[in-house]
């Protein structure tokens, strides 16, 4: 029972990170119907940005307060990653609007390869580690067969994800930008006829998605303390699985899917097999797409002639 509780805590933590990445996939898919294959690598890039910034702050500028450094790194990484995503959309996806359907997907695969190898070339192929931070823990239960712990890191991850989700929900539901975005999602041509700058809205979608992925990247780095250039692919696919499981195009679905994927992965590792934990995620992806392509909260897609 204690192990189960611990797995649940770890699963929710991991699921929060997947959920944050999944929002980027689901928003971009919702608005331009494209699987942004490079999104996982944008996430990896943000973790690298955070790693370097953290080292710069603590080593070169001598900031000893870890919490302050963490907040500065978080904000800066969001901004820089958003700029990356904006540039990627501008260079690799925008010229392809109106091209045949697979063109953006292929371009995104190229971009994904480009980004991970760029990081490999300019920062080296080794794993990069940072000293552990916030490693105090709270004991949830004691005296049983196993001490269930909740670390400060996990609290930070779950709290910041919840706060960001709430802010993001407000942005999409209540602001003119969110309204424009939802309009573009429904009918891009009609939205442009009504005076919405569609290109700008799409750019902003990429920017917001990347900023959320950057939060995930910073949290991932602080949680595991290590990142390498190849770390974009598998979390990327898992986050995409989360988006599909929740129903692609649906924002609450992405969060729900993320939490489910995180829980399933941790429970699978605990009770079945660590070696095959990625197989669990990939199988869920395949099974969901085959038997339930609209996901848990998605809208059914109508096929028109």
């Amino acid at each position: 029972m204690d192990i189960f509780l611990q797995s649940m805590i770890n699963g929710v933590t991991l699921g929060s990170i997947y959920g944050l990445i999944a929002i980027g996939y689901t928003m971009v898919f919702g608005i331009i119907g494209m699987v942004n294959f490079a999104h996982g690598d944008v996430f990896m890039l943000s973790a690298f940005v955070a790693l370097i910034l953290f080292l710069v702050l603590t080593q070169l500028l001598g900031i000893a307060n870890v919490a302050l450094a963490f907040v500065v790194v978080l904000v800066a990484a969001m901004a820089i990653t958003a700029l990356w995503s904006w540039t990627i959309e501008r260079v690799a996806y925008r010229p392809l609007r109106g091209s045949f359907r697979l063109a953006p997907l292929i371009s995104a695969i190229g971009m994904s390869i480009f980004l991970s190898n760029m990081v490999q070339v300019i920062q080296g192929p080794r794993n990069k580690t940072i000293p552990p931070m916030f490693d105090q823990v709270i004991k949830v239960t004691q005296g049983g067969s196993y001490d269930v712990t909740l670390s400060y890191k996990q609290i930070i991850i779950i709290v910041s994800t919840t706060v960001l989700m709430a802010g993001f929900w407000f942005l999409v539901q209540k602001t003119p930008l969110g309204r424009a975005q939802r309009a573009c999602e429904q009918d891009r041509r009609m939205a442009s006829l009504l005076g919405i700058d569609v290109d700008r809205t799409i750019s902003l979608t990429f920017v917001i998605g990347a900023a959320l992925a950057a939060v995930a990247g910073v949290l991932y780095l602080s949680y595991y303390g290590v990142v390498s250039f190849a770390d974009g692919f598998v979390p990327g696919v898992k986050a995409f699985t989360a988006a599909v499981l929740g129903g692609i195009g649906s924002l609450p679905g992405a969060v729900l899917g993320g939490l489910l994927i995180g829980l399933i992965e941790v429970l699978w590792s605990t009770y079945v097999s660590t070696d095959y934990k990625d197989v669990a995620a990939f199988s869920i992806l395949a099974i969901t797409l085959i038997f339930m392509p609209t996901g848990l909260l998605g809208r059914p897609e109508i096929e028109k002639v």
Partner: protein
Amino acid sequence: MLMETAKPVPGAPTKAAAPAPAFDLVAALKSAAFSAIVTLGLGFPLLAYDTHPDISNALIVVPRWSWAIVAAVVVFAGRFLGLLLNARPRAAKRPQQLRVPSRGETLLKANLVWFALAALVAFPIVMLGLLGSGGSLKWINNYGIQILIYVMLGWGLNIVVGLAGLLDLGYVAFYAVGAYSYALLSTTYGLSFWICLPLAGILAAFWGMILGFPVLRLRGDYLAIVTLAFGEIIRIVLINWTDLTNGYAGIASIPRATFFGVPFVDDEGGFSRLFGIEYSPIQRTIFLFYVILALALLTNFVTLRLRRLPVGRAWEALREDEIACRSLGINTVNTKLTAFALGAMFGGFAGSFFAVRQGFVSPESFTFIESATILAIVVLGGMGSQIGVAIAATVLIGGTELLRELDFLKRIFGEGFDPVQYRMLIFGGGMVLMMIWRPRGIIATRQPSIFLKQRKAISSDMVKEGHG
């Protein structure tokens, strides 16, 4: 739409009439400066600081601003030159016409194929004559065989992606099935390559059917993602099922290829003694070259013939419009399944060849990057175009091999510079640029496989691949 001849749409706007705009220096400088500032922003932490472990293995960070500044200057110059060249008055762009090749041209083209074939057959002999047995090994092995493997994989995937319009991101799974089939069958049961080759193809096709059956009713990009998931699952199983596959360590000492039972050894009963020639290790390489050439040509031949059969026509019809196909009574699942299984079968052949050539297989050879490479070859070649795929494979694989030759760059950029590590970087960037400049691939016209009265090339803009 393949059966119709394309006509220019009357009243279509022509861009040629617009006068070339005058070059606006200030605007161009502003735009270039903006790009440079964005580049500085992008490169701020990643380029401007280097991280490396110190003696106690803790990461330290070192400023490296020169890299970021060089990148910004390069982007500035590139953007400015791009705008400058774009603004120069160009010759009025002719409206794109769909040209019907004349009789002479068609003859030349038909002969071109035979010339190319003759050149390929003569390639190892010529190389051997020119460079001797030591010097030619690199050319025959690294260029010849390597490129031909990818040509074959490209043609195999072309059946799935180019003809049937199903985007498959997990093609490497079938390549892996073929390679492991040969590796396991030969090391466990001692079966020879020539028995294992068809078995590997059958097993791969079988896997293609097992995996294909549930997923083939999905549409375009979902299918792509599910095939990617299957590719990864197979790789993870290969890594973790150590009893069968020996995990990461892979399967070594796989029996090498023999000349239909005659081994390539310097021994009694070896190939060289049998034919009374001097022994040289290159004989096996040349033999492997002809094997993969024959396999690739078989793939091409089967594809070309299948395109004329009802099933091939059904593939192309399916690619164009699935709903229309269903309304006309084509069994879409079976049609897709044949394409998937046939593509997988050729992937299995290629994998089996890969195993016999390397003598060693491990899961490292079957990563997603490999699938992406093969897909890139098909896409850049022009989906559905056989010759385009061959050209793309030669350029991409030959090009990356050529990077190994660029040692002179070390003299310019210093000893630490290794052009090979830029291989995948150039590759990914190339995929993006190709999609922007020439999304239809190198060969952007199609020969319809069925026509009314007269054969006409059609622009591939008329072909809407990918609506799987």
